[in-house]
């Protein structure tokens, strides 16, 4: 029982740190509020969709960045989608890097795009790692009343 309480505390602390360190924003809380007994794994389901979508978009952007001349419209279109997905799960830092990338597309700055894309990938990888650790710990802790949430 005590071990279980400890796990739940760890989950809560881990969750809070994701907000405090700026990885997640209020939109993640919106997803949590949509989760209920009928859809008990909704947040993880959506985040899993995000990983799948992101893999596709990262591959498309990488391919597009290999082409010369750079097609800034196409790059912007892909990044618009990536930004939209990241925004939907509350991925604050990823979203910010996506915005920067799009700004470079707007000004036709190829070097800026290439450089910022590395940042996008880094932030995405970090977010994914942290979310995977969070959900793994949450699964270990098991179900609990969500009243303990706080941001």
């Amino acid at each position: 029982m005590e071990r279980n309480n400890q796990l739940h505390r760890q989950v809560a602390l881990m969750r809070q740190s994701l907000f405090d360190q700026g990885y997640l924003d209020e939109q993640f809380v919106q997803l949590e509020e949509l989760q209920d007994d009928t859809n008990p794994n909704f947040v993880e389901e959506v985040v899993t969709l995000y990983y799948r979508d992101s893999a596709r978009l990262v591959a498309s952007i990488e391919q597009a960045l290999d082409n010369r001349p750079l097609d800034f419209n196409r790059l912007d279109s892909y990044m618009h989608q990536f930004k939209g997905s990241s925004s939907s799960i509350g991925g604050r830092k990823v979203k910010a890097e996506c915005s920067q990338f799009r700004e470079y597309c707007r000004t036709g700055n190829g070097e800026g795009c290439i450089r910022t894309f590395q940042q996008v990938k880094r932030e995405y990888a970090t977010l994914r790692k942290k979310l995977e650790a969070y959900f793994q710990l949450a699964r270990q802790a098991g179900p609990r009343d969500t009243a303990s949430r706080s941001t």
């Binding site: 997803l31 509020e33 949509l34 389901e45 969709l49 939209g84 997905s85």
Partner: protein, 146 residues
């Protein structure tokens, strides 16, 4: 690459509110499957009807084809940026066909010009992404006036 539209049904077990409408059908049009899923859940929480039917389409042509094949919806959540046929174009065509649904434009674009153009295409209201329950309340209010 068009994905098949998906349809899902939500029923309310309790009917404590006699003023709720019987059925509500909502079409969610967005290229992003993740966004469609989130919007589907948001709509399911509105609790404005005893039965809720949601359907999704991932491009503009698919949304139009649904109507051409005879489907109709009370509410359409229409993303502005769609492959094949964009949100404003689909909206214009639907209105030209006589579609009277509440069409909610959904966009993350911050250009006033873009938004005004989308409204002029025939929207009832537009909402900024990401959607939240609070933002969808305005849709509920529009429904209640209907």
């Amino acid at each position: 690459m068009a994905s098949p539209s998906t349809r899902s049904y939500h029923g309310c077990d309790k009917d404590s509110d006699g003023s709720k409408r019987g059925k509500l059908s909502v079409l969610i049009v967005d290229e992003n499957v993740l966004v469609c899923r989130v919007h589907e859940m948001l709509v399911s929480k509105l609790k404005v009807a005893k039965e809720l039917l949601t359907e999704t389409a991932t491009d503009g042509k698919e949304a139009l084809d649904l109507h051409l094949s005879g489907s109709s919806f009370d509410v359409i959540l229409m993303e502005m940026d769609l492959p094949i046929m964009d949100g404003p174009e689909v909206t214009k065509k639907l209105r030209a066909m006589g579609v009277k649904s509440i069409i909610v434009g959904v966009t993350s674009r911050d250009s006033k010009v873009d938004r005004e153009a989308f409204m002029a295409a025939g929207l009832d209201v537009w909402l900024e992404k990401p959607l939240t329950a609070h933002k969808l309340k305005s849709v509920v209010e529009a429904l209640e006036k209907k």
